[in-house]
Point group: C2
């Protein structure tokens, strides 16, 4: 007998439908933006939807055709938001570029993506002027501002004014419907080695990710929320918040480039923000500002912290001093980005606060749609016992299959299925809470056992004389690899090799304690502030451990 087909409406999942939904059902809900120009801009979803359609018209008038890439170099703001929908919604592909990368990286990325249009905030005019000669594919430069702020002089050929483009259109545009697997946007990973690689999201993957993201066990966003995405819109689509807010009709507040403690605090209070999301460092500035002025948050109730592991102390401070729930999250560019979030299960209600905190400090459980596993170096699955650490692999409809313009598959096989190797090393406990213990390439493999470089660094950093520390693998004739700790002392502080090593005693198992310490004046970093472990390992390639 032939398989019976469902008899439901065939409607492709389209990014444009998020904004039309918001315009229809939360038409007067506000989008508030702190502008590059310095002032506060307010309008509604209804306004945004009309302007996004006008943008789609303008891009077509510029000659853009389905599949063309439209790049942005922009902060979180309403014009960037319009581009999210005007570009993707019309079948073009939004390419959000991280302006904090080195200029040569930006040029490489824009060329790899073959961007046809580049839209940028006024802030980035000097950068774009400098880059332009290296960007042969870019036919149109658009500055995201109005006529009154339009640069009087520029080296850019035929620079276009965003507001002029939008104003010239009549808005009689109708969002097209097309294959939901069509590319919607591209975001490049800034890998520590090799060239950056582009993740190509689709309308389908974006909508499924957005459904996953608003779930109570994920960001838990509803129409009664006011959302301020601190995470930039050039960091994996601000973790999906610009899609999630219109899905539920929540008010959106964009901070622009103003991410210091004071600016954020004032905006959170003035606009009655209830939910935010960002990396730990931004929260540090906000907490410091609030503590210094003995201030409280009147409306902020919940925040998702990810990007890098959230220090437990920060989670405790936000909860106990400020009554803000912290949801620890993990994801990556290749995952749209959300993978896991840490929230309690019903059975945890009876635990005491300390036991609950131990769970909440992990990276958490997957959202439905993502599956994960950990494997040993032979690719065999490891048990979920909270102890076994292994290579974390993931799969799901919002996980990449391959990178932009590359045919080789990054996937690995496990139990008859294809998985994306995250490059993270993690343990998963019996309740399916995942905890990152290291990056695969940073883990130290000592006689078949894995030592977490992150754990060693966290301990070392807790020493009052340590400014920064990095643990790397050093070759060893017997154990294959043993840990070497590279340390920058605080200015004026004294610290000996023996004192440093002694500090580890009682904190971890004896065999995990580093074999040696090397004191340096500076540890090398990437453009995004991460320690360049590869460079460090090269620097200490010839280092001979005293135990060797």
């Amino acid at each position: 007998m032939a398989r019976l087909m469902g008899q439901m409406m065939q409607m492709p999942l389209m990014i444009s439908s998020l904004l039309t939904h918001a315009a229809r059902h939360a038409g007067d809900t506000e989008i508030v933006s702190k502008r590059v120009e310095g002032d506060l801009h307010r309008y509604t979803y209804r306004d945004a939807e009309l302007r996004a359609r006008k943008l789609a018209q303008a891009l077509a008038r510029l000659g853009c055709e389905p599949g063309d890439r439209v790049a942005t170099l922009a902060w979180n703001g309403y014009r960037h938001f319009e581009a999210y929908f005007g570009v993707s919604g019309s079948g073009l592909v939004l390419h959000t570029i991280n302006p904090r990368l080195f200029p040569e990286q930006i040029a490489w990325i824009a060329n790899d993506a073959a961007d046809r249009v580049l839209c940028f905030d006024l802030t980035f005019l000097p950068l774009v002027e400098k880059l332009a000669p290296q960007l042969p594919s870019v036919q149109h430069y658009v500055v995201l501002t109005g006529r009154s702020h339009f640069p009087a002089q520029t080296s850019l050929p035929n620079l276009l004014c965003y507001e002029d483009l939008v104003d010239a259109e009549d808005g009689t545009y109708r969002w097209p419907e097309f294959d939901e697997n069509t590319a919607s946007s591209i975001c490049y990973t800034s890998g520590t080695t090799g060239h950056p690689k582009g993740a190509v999201y689709s309308h389908r993957s974006t909508l499924l990710h957005t459904y996953g993201l608003v779930m109570p066990d994920a960001m838990g966003i509803g129409g009664a929320d006011v959302i301020l995405p601190v995470v930039p819109m050039f960091h994996v689509n601000a973790w999906g918040t610009p899609y999630a807010a219109p899905m539920v009709g929540a008010k959106l507040v964009f901070p622009g480039p103003h991410l210091d403690g004071k600016s954020l605090y004032e905006l959170l209070e003035a606009e009655k923000v209830s939910f935010s999301a960002g990396v730990p460092t931004v929260w540090l500035g906000l907490i410091n500002f609030a503590q210094a002025g003995k201030l409280k948050f009147s409306t902020l109730r919940r925040t998702v912290i990810g990007g890098s592991a959230c220090p437990p102390a920060m989670m405790r401070t936000l909860e106990s001093e400020f009554a803000v729930q912290v949801i620890h999250a993990w994801g990556m560019t290749e995952m749209s980005p959300l993978g896991t979030l840490s929230l309690l299960k019903a059975k945890h209600a009876a635990l005491d606060a300390t036991a609950q905190h131990r769970i909440l400090e992990k990276q958490g459980k997957v959202i439905f749609g993502v599956d994960m596993a950990i494997t040993d170096d032979e690719g065999a699955a490891l048990p979920w016992d909270g102890q076994s650490s292994g290579n974390l692999v993931v799969r799901g409809p919002w996980v990449i299959q391959s990178y932009f313009g590359r045919t080789e598959s990054p996937l690995v096989a496990l139990e008859g299925r294809q998985w994306f190797p995250t490059g993270d090393v993690a343990a998963i406990d019996a309740d399916a809470y995942m905890q990152i213990t290291d990056r695969s390439k940073d883990v130290i493999k000592s006689g078949g056992e894995w030592i977490s470089s992150i754990e060693l660094e966290n301990i070392a950093m807790a020493h009052p004389a340590v400014l920064e520390a990095a643990a790397i693998a050093c070759s060893h004739p017997k154990w294959d690899e043993r840990p070497l700790l590279v340390v920058v002392r605080k200015p004026g502080a004294e610290l000996s090799r023996e004192q440093m090593l002694g500090f580890f005693e009682g904190k971890i198992a004896k065999w995990q304690i580093p074999d040696d310490v090397a004191f340096v004046a500076e540890i090398p970093h990437t453009a995004t502030g991460k320690i360049q472990k590869l460079k460090l390992r090269e620097m200490f390639k010839g280092h001979r451990l005293p135990t060797a």
Copy 2:
């Protein structure tokens, strides 16, 4: 230039993945069932997933092939839950039949669906024995019980025992992946006229609906919830709760046939239920029981009430006396079923309780995925002003395109798109909150203006001498139609035509007051308890209004 395709993993949305997700990530979370046999059964998602795979094996062994329909006549319980996944997950089609229908309707439905297997609870053995001779397509009868409760005698040929079937399999079954548009389940509407019609859900529509359902602005279900679906699993898949609970890993509590106030109260308390869903009448029993014993709910915090309009008084009682949040919802079989739920927006936070209640008493806003519109009888769109009432039409990926085995399209065109006409008459306000005012065929069209029969009935029912009231259209030479009120007096109560009509004064506009009252001994009802307005209109076809 060719459209660029996304480079994300191509994974079909499969119902089986809901249960494997729960087994992997909430493996020890419980499913508790009050059994037909009388006792309480407990096991975990891990157990359920294994048994669902064994069921899939058993059905294949019985000769079932992809697309075959497997019917159930069963209460809410773990075996029914296993069928939801074992049947749909293996590419068969689950057909949940409402045992409360008249036997001849059940037979008609089972024949229309050409069910190959019929699984039923012990309760329904006499019913199935009576029906069997009329069910030529059914090859296998399976009673959902173990050997110890297996009927000693039955007229059913080759009756199979569910537990024997499951026990005979080894569980080495692997869930297949196939086209996500494949049919997963069928549910028939019990229309008031004509034969019932089957809505055919797909794996895709079911998963998208489930994502929509768990959203904070819908049921708002997370892994910390304990869910008791009071709504039967034969009523549009218990509104999707058997899919939603495994999606988030929430504990499930099934009440079996025990839906009286006492049984429900005890189960809610014993199993620490936090969330429930059901029709207003069930809550009435529960509230009466709790009030009589001066009892409170220790863990119940939220409930979704739908199926028919929830009386505002019930919403207030649950909130003020019992601290249970009531979410008013609306949907239909053709919508999987969820369409709208009433929750406040951020801007409503400042309103006083009365104003908030007025919003929450409406049927609410659509979940993202459903769109709605109201039209006049010429099919033109009506404004969203909270006043204009019109035919409610909907569209979305979990709304039907056509009915099982029928080629004719029930859809209507509006603004270049196809919509499903709900048969309801509604008004939508400027904030996109929808309120049902009537059924299309029951609305009374008086001189171009529409009068809501429901509104007239609600007023009449508030009179202390009225047991039941129905308002129907009666033909009128000048106004085309005018309302006639059909009333059943309470036993021993006195009520004149003039007293009844006088009761309307000051409560609605003068022109909406009925022209006449007819007192009857009884008002005819359908099998599911709805007033048979068609029959009433036939009864009063020749009625001459005093105003005519």
